[in-house]
Amino acid sequence: MPRALLIAPLVFAGPSFLKFTAPTRLAEFAALVGLLILACYAVFGIKLQVPALMLLPFVIWASIRFGVGGSALSALIVATIATLATAFGRGPFALYTPFVNALLLDVFFATLSVSGLMLASLIAEREKAEEDHEQLIRRQAMMEVRLRLAAIVESSEDAIVGQNTDGIITDWNAGAARLYGYDESEAIGEVFSTLVRSGEKSDLDFTKMSNTVSRHETVHYRKNGTPIEVSLNVSPIHDGAGRVVGISAIAHDITGRQRAAKALRESEDKLRVILNSVAEGIFGVDFEGRCTFCNKASLRLLGYDSADALLGKHMHDLIHHSHPDGTPFPAAECNHLSQVLKTPEGVHFEDEVLWRADGTSFHAELWTKAQTQGDRVTGAVVAFSDITKRIQSEENAATLRDELAHLSRVGMLGALSGALAHEINQPLAAIRINAEAALRLLEAQPLPVPDLRGALAEIRDDNQRAGEVLQHMRTLLKKDTGRLDEVEINPTVGEVVKLIKGNAVKRNIAIDVELSPWMRPIIGDRVQVQQVILNLLMNACDAVENNERSARNVGIKTIPRKGSMIIEVSDTGPGISDEQLEHIFEPFYTTKREGLGLGLSICQSIVAAHGGSLEAVRNPSVGMTFSAIFPMQSWPQDSAGPNHARPKI
């Protein structure tokens, strides 16, 4: 029976007891067997009187370290050696009669194997219990993970749908219920692709799927029939053995995103159409001045065939590389871009010279606006138009106005010619008379020297007088008028009054001149200022011509005001109506029977060109008062003094 105890565990343990997971275990096992055989030799081989129970610790060692199999094997080794030793009459069990020896041997075996096996099985039991416990903990943890995953799935905004291999819905989360409108009980058991009327059946055909996740966008339908654009993630579900046992589908509603994208596309299209349909050139630059976009007009105006010629290039180097006179204009010296980038409200360049692809240039007006992203300036948009024609027509118009002003002056002098002839004839007559008188005085004896001196002095003065009148006339008749100069108002008024006085006297018109001693010179064109005074005075004289003789009064006053000098011409004529007053400065508007109606409009443009204004008011009592208000100006910054370009009228 003890022998059965020795063999049976070995049979049960089978080959598994030889399974060593690590080389150290094998070494330990070999050491154990070696030491055990040595101990057996000590007990049974030599006569050292070593008690047989000394072998028990080795069996216990085997039991603890190698379980039932180890325990049984060690017991078997001891039993075999003990049996053989006893049979050969050696060892502690060969001392007595064969029967006693056999009995002792059996008791020894029983002790060895029972204690070994007991110990081994106790240890095995404990290990198993520990293993069970660990497994339980693992299972719990796994369960928790699953629960958490389930909660995640359930709380997901996206629809998460589980299907079996036939496409039948097995799982349906709250997101799916929200997205598709079917609740869980309606959905489970249905075929997913049919339920959502997926256009592509293959979407959900697991057989065509590889292991990888498939992602695409498609259209599904809700329970109420409305279409939804979804981004669909489909992936196979594997079992532990790697077989596909189902499909999971995650659907994300992208209807809004699609709509926004579509709206963006549409607005981009619209913007492109607008950009390409405007006449102005429009282009964008980044903060370093490189072209980011350009419209068709900008290509046309700048003479390029395709946008590629501009995109990414430094616009300064392409279109702003030279000064108007053709000298190079390095980008480093051009502060336009930095000016634009730091001026959020935009910068307007009235007249810039831009260069075309073929090397020609044109005048352009530019409007710019900085582009920002948040607080950061990322670049600027530039709109420009070719103003060459406008500048030309402005120049033409200015020339025309100059010619018209000249014609107007010639016309006025023509009207005054009678009176002016009188102004010149008067001193000429006096000169001739004095000359004749002098000749006769030379005949007298003794020579009347004081009288002769008086005659000659008067001849000299009258000659000067006639010359001055001619000089004034010539100035007014000159086509190219003077240039910017300091114009003293009072002497200018005096000269004009002199010119018109003869005419006024002839018409019995009294001109009352009131000059303020506090007048300061203005910067302007003397002839143009004279023209304004002459015109206003002639109008005033015309206005009073039909009055009673005693009521033909014209007044001219100079008045200094803060910042401006005023020349005021008033008359006691009939005045004009409100309606006429509205149009009085318009060209070709006239209240006279003769005249083109250009005088006042020319006067107004002259005064305006001096930065001033011409105003007309009805006097409280009778007649009109015209005020030419010339601002006190300083010399233009880039001009050192007189003879700068004259004002364009």
């Binding site: 009188h422 004839n425 008067q426 000429l428 006096a430 001739r432 004749e436 008086g454 003869g502 006297v505």
Partner: protein
């Protein structure tokens, strides 16, 4: 008008100072007596006190014009020989002046000798009329 002096006085009416001064100088050196006025008003004011003489009047005068003065003299029936002057050439003015009794019309700047000749002729006619009278 009665002459209190040896020869007739020439009354110069011109608003231009240079004209008055030069005429006075020339007429004096030519042996005439001269009295000059700056306006018709000034002349009319002294009319009562003036003796006989010839009138040398500018047509373009401020206030009462030369032509109006001639009209006024006709109305007052003052017998007077008149030479009219004008700085501007206006045919109607000349015709009017001659109609109003001016014997000569001079366009400034006239030849002073023409004036002196005209005065001489007027003086002779005056003398003849006085002798005949």
């Amino acid at each position: 008008m009665t002459s209190t002096q040896s020869g007739p006085v020439i009354y110069v009416i011109d608003d231009d100072r240079s004209m008055r001064r030069s005429l006075r100088r020339l007429l004096k050196v030519s042996g005439w007596h001269v009295k000059a006025f700056a306006s018709a008003e000034a002349f009319l004011a002294e009319l009562e006190t003036l003796g006989g003489g010839f009138l040398l009047v500018d047509i373009q005068l401020p206030g009462i014009t030369g032509l109006e003065l001639l009209e006024r003299l006709q109305e007052l029936a003052v017998p007077c020989r008149v030479i009219a002057m004008s700085g501007s050439s206006d045919a109607t003015v000349e015709a009017q002046a001659l109609r109003l009794g001016a014997t000569t019309f001079l366009h400034k700047p006239f030849d002073p000798r023409v004036l002196l000749d005209a005065l001489e002729q007027m003086a002779q006619a005056h003398e003849k009329a006085r002798i005949l009278g």
